[in-house]
Point group: C2
Chain length 371, copies 2
């Protein structure tokens, strides 16, 4: 955390943690002024998630049945991420803020303590409480902003926030992976339109992280080199899919991109996670990341807000720490101004991806919409 | 193919193959009466798909950029799967038919011959023409029917059709996996509402099939037993998620089901694919399959047509032939009458699945809506 961002921890009425990250002088948030507190009468959070290992894939699947009744697309007036006003208490008990993180009220992860057992007493089906934590990150008090509209200093603050939370959550003994991401767009089911990201701290290594580790190890055994470094260098050398090139970061459409819009933002230095980035890398990242999200929003003529997922792949916390490099995968399922890419039989059942475009076309368009 | 179904091969105006499967006497289709032929002026099919291996996952991704302009949700009057009428030529040049299979006009797979090369000359990125074949299976001439509405004899014919096509496509030297499936519902992007399935014959082993093989092999090494047999027996023994139980087939919600609605229909005899089923197994399958699809349509009160994917997992054609058992996975992304399950950051980027329900609840509901 740089000195320009002040972190203040407080709690909501139901005991959930809330952390203000103030980056403006004078510090404006409720925690700084201490003028407000959460006076709502909230029931305790019902976190009772469990996870079961799927014997057909070896992967853990999380069951969070308590989430069935979560808030869905509230009207703007009820937005839980806007600042509170007299007579209207949101999730953020302050009349203004810069950026803020709090525990999700309808968490996918989080469980009372408990041990491993077996579904129906059968060793095929191990089951555990799905511990971990789900956090929400509000980027700005402005309800209608897009990430690409944030001032550069706020984009930089958000990176500090994600880095600080990655560091803090990695210290929890039950956490194996910290995943920072932004889901945006009703097209992918986003229930809150206020600009925000999320952080999931998983009690297991997610399948894609494990696959990245496995592939990296195989490549290293075979060549003695780092797979992710080799890919970065090959993309920079080829140049055909390069979209952004700086001192500390490069962005390219991967040569086998699955999504109709996809770009990877990769640091030149091999670091495991956001927390390991130095100040210079964070400064350039704020520029590059905001720039890329702006290009995604200009990708389709006539579409102002393209649905996207911005996913920070980080090294797992407890295994393969030095074997996987941080990168950000930004992608969209929009394939035309009026069409989406659906994951139907081939993708959803067999995992076989069919793209309707090519990585080179995606890169050409992302270069075309540069400012 | 049983004697009650007559197979007649013909060709469409652009050279694509079309096969009538007649199960009624007198045989009503165009091929039987020979009264019609496809008089349309069609451009040649532009199949130029390629596949690239993703170095981060080791998986092949198919690029079929020529599909960008395919037909999307035509009005009923233009339905290409309805029988042709005077002055209106559809994909099926007959004024009536029973069931019919033809090559997809906008195929995801299929390529002119050619060898393997490298994207940008880099060994990280192998590339091949994506050969193989995509077929459409029209189940009935009735535009508004659901599979669950078909007479039992037609459901039985469809099984014969899928088995016959699995057998025929498995003989092609370029095919490694034959995948029969039905995508249904605008919610998953289905462009044609007329009841139909599809068959993809892949020139590689899809990731999920490979994972099933890998897990099965690991289980066999460890226990000396078949993983799929062990799971079937465990589900039948537990009974808590069992939905259908017959002489030759059982259906259950798997203990780690990912989707809000999911059921697996599994033969008791270990067979690699649909073509290997005997007459008795096919008879019972027609009953069980139609019954389960009807239950899916009754799952949500007030929802008449639940979007679903019915996916036939078969053993790959050229590897692990005796190591994987046929099963049908039926699943839906609908999670409530007015809500869908979206695959956002956790699922799409990290492959970590979060379910909002439990397998036991799904099974209870599927039992409740039995007729």
């Amino acid at each position: 955390m740089t000195a320009r961002v002040r972190q203040t921890v407080t709690h909501l009425a139901d005991g959930r943690e809330l952390i203000y990250f103030d980056d403006t002088e004078p510090f404006v948030s409720g925690a700084a002024t201490r003028e407000t507190h959460d006076g709502r009468d909230l029931p305790p959070v019902a976190a009772s998630a469990e996870m079961r290992r799927d014997p057909l894939t070896g992967e853990w699947v999380v069951f969070a049945a308590h989430r069935m009744d979560r808030t869905f697309l509230p009207a703007t007036v009820d937005c839980p991420l806007c600042p509170s006003r007299a007579g209207s208490c949101t999730e953020i008990p302050a009349d203004d803020y810069d950026a803020v993180v709090f525990e999700n009220r309808f968490p996918s992860l989080g469980a009372l303590s408990g041990g491993e057992d077996l579904v129906d007493d059968d060793p095929l089906w191990p089951r555990r409480p799905a511990s971990g934590r789900c956090e929400v990150v509000a980027f700005t008090p402005q309800h209608d902003a897009r990430f690409a509209d944030l001032p550069l200093s706020r984009a930089r603050t958000v990176i500090d926030v994600l880095a600080a939370r990655t560091d803090a959550l990695s210290r929890r003994p039950d956490v194996h992976q910290v995943f920072c991401f932004e889901n945006r767009g009703v097209e992918i089911g986003v229930t809150l339109q206020h600009p925000h990201g999320q952080i999931y701290a998983y009690p297991f290594v997610p399948p894609r992280s494990q696959a990245l580790l496995d592939r990296g190890r195989e490549h290293h055994r075979r060549t003695g080199r780092s797979l992710q470094r080799d890919i970065l260098e090959a993309e920079r050398r080829a140049g055909t899919r390069l979209v952004w090139s700086g001192d500390a970061w490069s962005a390219y459409v991967p040569a086998a991109a699955r999504w109709p819009v996809e770009v990877h933002l990769v640091p030149h230095r091999e670091v495991p996670d956001l927390a390991a980035l130095d100040d210079g890398e964070r400064d350039e990242l704020a520029v590059a990341y905001r720039d890329l999200l702006g290009r995604v929003d200009r990708f389709f003529p006539g579409v102002e807000r393209v649905p996207y997922i911005a996913a920070w792949h980080q090294a797992p916390v407890r295994a393969g720490r030095g074997e996987m490099r941080l990168f950000c995968q930004i992608f969209s399922l929009r394939r035309a101004p009026d069409k989406l890419k659906y994951l139907a039989g081939s993708e959803s059942a067999l995992g076989a991806w069919i793209s309707d475009t090519t990585p080179e076309r995606i890169a050409a368009r992302l270069r075309e919409v540069a400012t």
